[in-house]
């Protein structure tokens, strides 16, 4: 990975990996190649935006940074768009419940979650546990 390509307030990969390792059970069902992207909100419109990608490899889930080329070429199944503070809290090793924080932000729509692949495809890719833990079973519709 090109270190210079990390987003502004770069958060180290080791920290992200530690988060994923701590919560491995939630990602355990994901098939190799399944990818979740996390994009800093402030970089959303930037042509040089970088996103964090959590990718299932068959030997666990691995964190890495990649360019964000836009929705169509992003090659992720889900894409979180979050502000820097949210990403910082998620990355913080001292945070006892980082994914619960993320879930709360998504529910409040302070973090936007783009569901890039249809629900059925996500279930095929093994996202059931992750979607369930994020409370996405029936979020939103007309309230």
């Amino acid at each position: 990975m090109d270190a210079n390509a990390e987003p502004r307030a770069a958060l180290d990969i080791a920290g992200w990996q530690a988060l994923l390792d701590r919560h491995a059970a939630i990602f355990a069902g994901m098939l190799p190649g399944s990818r979740i992207g996390l994009l800093p909100e402030e970089d959303f419109e930037s042509p040089s935006a970088m996103m964090l990608v959590w990718e299932a490899t068959g030997n666990g889930i691995v964190a890495d940074y990649r360019p964000f080329p836009g929705f169509e070429e992003a090659e992720v199944d889900l894409l979180f768009v979050a502000d820097g503070e949210t990403l910082g809290r998620l990355h913080d090793r001292a945070n006892p419940a980082p994914l619960a924080d993320l879930k709360r932000k998504v529910r409040r729509r302070e973090t936007l979650l783009y569901v890039v692949k249809p629900r059925a495809a996500l279930l095929e890719l093994g996202y059931e546990e992750f979607l369930d833990s994020m409370g996405l079973a029936f979020m939103g519709a007309c309230r």
Partner: protein, 658 residues
């Protein structure tokens, strides 16, 4: 014609007006708020739909908008499982019937053309919108970018569908930019990221709408008005959607290119805030109509989002906030709302209580139904109608909760003689308690109880309060009744919990809800379903320290789908700890001991432990009554504890067939 008393009391609502050359008998517009899902998968109208439409046509509204029909043969505009279609002349005969019903009822008939855009393509596995912006709700389908050629084709399809509607006898048509449908996706920056003449500036984003308006007006001719529904607030601006100023620029564009009425709506499906639920106070969004009216003094404005009250609507009309009260869900709950308002019988109205059962079902691809109106969607079925009883019976009903009272009202209307026995001192059953603790809008649930009280009085239903039914009591009324209905509700199955080591420590949720038992400062609620959550939220708000313990992995398991998020959000906002996947092993003076799925034990300090689940129907009376009465029935929670909607529906259905 003599004015009815309510017409004098609500003179603005019942004021006849002229709109677009049509004489309109009052200023109530039935809004096409929901697609019914009663029709065939290929867009044909069913007998079920026609029967429902007859009821709508008879509501007494001055203008009636028929539910949205998708205009394209491929179904990219189709959002709902069995939405009606208008892409071909073959559909016209059925629309003729609907236009006929509306005219027979004295209404102006408007047909909505609904291309769902971002929420469409239900049978296709994709949807179309101006740009590829993925869904944020997993329910919907991935987008494809609409080409310029498809834009032209889509506009033509709308115009053709509108022409068919007019040919079928409708007086006018409506297009809708509500909550993220195709028109909204062009208007909004959130989904329109195009760089051609249909994207970018607000003038460009509004181009699709303007072309749509011009095309429909050209196709239908000047004598047939066009209504355009537009967001006064998208509630999506946090994520790049239009702000309110932009929404009003688009509203102005619509008016300038010939819209005969603008209907102001609120919010996208994906918006973070509630727009129509019970947690939104009535009148909350009225300011959006006021702004539209100030902007467009010469264009009729319709409005009704979370404005369920005809008295408030009359006041708004009097103040010139808008020109037509657009109402739908309150008329699903009570199709006689307008008539009752005209006859000064508003106390007999079954109010829409914002449960959103209608939408919960639509998003499970089910036909919509209404918590308050069990007959909705069953108008074609005699089994759901109040018809004179072949044999007049004497009926005793045990329990004056929603199930018992619905049964009593339906049976009385059919000619039976009904007596309701209620152990408590008031009508309402457990609803009485939970209404008082509802964080959303207490008045809505309380209105259900008040409705039962009023109707019992008006129909002369004898309700014997403070009267428990037991073997001794039954001996005293032996042979006095032909039928007994057990509608005694449910209690918590305390046998399923460990016995408390101290008397008074464990109390039932309903007793706390009704105020017959007090609670201490530190409360542990056992059960994270709707009963436990409602109480936990209320007690926390009043200052108690509350923890919720739930056996299942998630809270709110029995909560209606469109309401789950609301409880979850309140629990978070109120910082109520929830322990899920936990089993209670001990209830003692030092607190409640729970064990989680990994075998870890925790003791939660508690002054009061509230048992909110598991519920068990109060069925003991069945054994007592079996050999002392001719017919014995049960309904509501007494049979299977499920909640308000099912209690109302069970009670009504039983009342219709006794």
């Amino acid at each position: 014609m003599t004015q009815r008393p309510g017409e004098t009391q609500l003179p603005h609502l019942f004021q006849p007006v002229t709109w677009a050359g049509f004489a309109v008998k009052n200023r109530v517009k039935y809004g096409a708020c929901c697609v019914s899902n009663y029709n065939t998968r290929d867009g044909f109208i069913t007998e079920r739909e026609l029967a429902r439409t007859k009821v709508i046509a008879g509501t007494g509204c001055g203008i009636i908008t028929n539910q949205g029909a998708y205009p394209d043969p491929l179904g990219e505009g189709k959002a709902y499982f069995s939405q009606v279609a208008l892409f071909d002349d073959k559909f016209i005969p059925q629309f003729e019937k609907i236009a006929g019903y509306i005219h027979d009822g004295g209404g102006i008939a408007i047909q909505q053309i609904l291309h769902a855009g971002r929420y469409g393509g239900i049978d296709l596995g994709y949807c179309i919108q101006p740009s590829v912006v993925p869904q944020t709700l997993p329910h919907f389908r991935p987008p494809r970018e609409i080409t310029k050629e498809q834009i032209r084709e889509t506009i033509e399809q709308h115009a053709e569908a509108a022409k068919r509607a007019i040919k079928a006898g409708f007086d006018g048509t409506e297009i809708t930019s509500f909550m993220g449908y195709l028109l909204a996706t062009f208007n909004s920056k959130f989904t329109n990221r195009r760089t051609d003449e249909y994207g970018g500036s607000i003038a460009n984003r509004g181009r699709f709408m303007r072309e749509l308006i011009y095309a429909i007006k050209a196709a239908t001719g000047g004598a047939h008005p066009l209504v355009v529904r537009l967001n006064g607030a998208e509630l999506m601006d946090r994520w790049g959607g239009n702000d309110e100023d932009e929404c009003y620029e688009l509203i102005q564009q619509a008016a300038e290119c010939g819209a005969d009425m603008v209907s102001i709506t609120v919010g996208w499906q994906e918006a973070p805030d509630s727009s129509i639920g019970r947690d939104v106070p009535p009148g909350h969004w009225n300011r959006l109509a006021v702004r539209a009216k100030q902007l467009l003094p010469d264009t009729p404005v319709a409005f009704g989002t979370r404005l369920p009250d005809p008295i408030m609507a009359d006041r708004c009309l009097a103040e010139g906030q808008f020109d037509f009260w657009e109402v739908c869900r309150p008329l699903l709950a009570d199709p006689d709302l307008v008539k009752k308002a005209a006859e000064a019988r508003l106390d007999e109205v079954k109010r829409c209580i914002g449960q959103l059962n209608c939408l919960s079902r639509l998003f499970r691809d089910l036909p919509y139904t209404c918590t308050m109106n069990p007959a909705l969607g069953h108008e074609v079925e005699p089994e759901y109608q109040i018809t004179p009883a072949a044999v007049r019976k004497k009926i005793m009903i045990v329990g004056a909760g929603p199930a018992g009272m619905e049964c009593a009202i339906a049976a009385t209307r059919r000619g039976h003689h009904v007596v309701v026995y209620e152990r408590g001192e008031r009508i309402g059953g457990s609803l009485l308690g939970y209404a008082a603790h509802d964080l959303a809008h207490k008045d809505d649930l309380a209105s259900v109880v008040e409705y039962y009280r009023v109707m019992a009085t008006k129909l002369g239903i004898e309700v014997r309060l403070g009267t428990a039914v037991d073997p001794k009591m039954m001996r005293s009324v032996l042979h006095q009744f032909d039928v007994a209905v057990v509608a005694a509700g449910a209690r918590v199955d305390l046998q399923a919990l460990p016995a408390p080591e101290e008397e008074g420590l464990l109390v039932e949720a309903i007793d706390v809800a009704l105020g017959t038992r007090q609670h201490g400062r530190r409360v542990v609620v056992l059960g994270g379903g709707k009963v436990g959550l409602t109480l936990a939220e209320s007690l926390k708000t009043s200052g108690a320290e509350v923890v919720v313990v739930e056996r299942e992995r998630r809270i709110a398991g029995d909560v209606m789908p469109t309401w789950k998020w609301r409880h979850s959000a309140w629990i978070e906002e109120l910082e109520i700890p929830t322990m899920t996947g936990c089993r209670v092993t001990r209830i003692a003076k030092d607190g409640v001991t729970v064990i989680d799925g990994k075998g870890r034990e925790t003791t939660l300090p508690a002054d009061t432990v509230i048992a909110a689940s598991p519920a068990r129907g109060n069925q003991e009376l069945f054994a007592e009554l079996e050999w002392s009465i001719d017919e014995l029935h049960g309904c509501g929670d007494a049979m299977v504890p499920r909640g308000l909607t099912q209690a109302i529906h069970d009670g009504y259905r039983l009342g219709c067939r006794l």
